[in-house]
Amino acid sequence: MERLECTTCVELRIPCRPEYVGVTRLTILGVASRMKFSYDEVEDVRLAVGESCTTSVDRAEKNNRPDAQIILRSEISHDKLTIDIIDDAGSRISEEVDEGADIEPENIGALLVTLLVDEVEVYRLDTGTHVRMVKYARNG
């Protein structure tokens, strides 16, 4: 059995498809509830994770990757929750801003993630994307 890197890590692997995004939200809801977060902060984390996974699902569809997967990995420490969302949904096309275009859900999703957690980093992988987000517990 492959061991997780730390003793406070939770890891979930799901198919990168719309019907499974809710599973990641439920998982992170349980994990975030173990932190000294307020109710609103837990909801922020849930929404941020849902948005990030939705972006992965959109990319898998656009890149025609029906077998793509998402790994959700979280690590609790005394003052912060670190969440990694790693997909093999193919490359993300650069987000070119078209002033005349409609507001795309993906853009709203990216905005939400930025606003809901304290730190967001996006790494491009050979097969997909790795998003790392950090939420600090201020009530601790």
Partner: protein, 118 residues
């Protein structure tokens, strides 16, 4: 994960789409389809009731924005009923509360829509 959608017509024929549960990347396409049906039926005003929505993501927001845009192109409008602070907050932090007419009850929404069409 639960999602329900109920469509009803109020007195005067005002269509109301009442949503329940989680409106996300998996379920929002059903809302989009329902909006298309109402638009094709010639609806000029639509009310979307989010009172019983527990979760709403960017895909749902995208569907609502698309619906609003289409309605306004036809000199119509789409209003939202959203009394829950948690759901309303999603509109507020994205600035979409300034684009949508958001009410806290069906009575309030119907009254406002009625005044707008007089």
């Amino acid at each position: 994960m639960s999602f329900k959608m109920l469509v009803k017509s109020l007195d005067g024929g005002l269509p109301v789409i009442a949503l329940e549960g989680e409106v996300d990347v998996y379920t929002a396409p059903q809302l989009k389809q329902q909006m298309i049906v109402l638009l094709e039926d010639g609806a000029k005003q639509i009310v979307v009731n989010l009172t019983n929505v527990e979760y709403l993501d960017s895909t749902a927001l995208g569907v609502l924005i698309g619906g609003l845009k289409r309605m306004r192109e036809m000199d119509g409008n789409m209003s939202l009923i959203c009394p829950a602070p948690r759901i309303r907050r999603v509109f507020e932090i994205t600035g979409l509360d300034r684009i949508f007419d958001i009410y806290t009850s069906e009575t309030e929404a119907v009254e406002a829509v009625g005044k707008g069409t007089e």
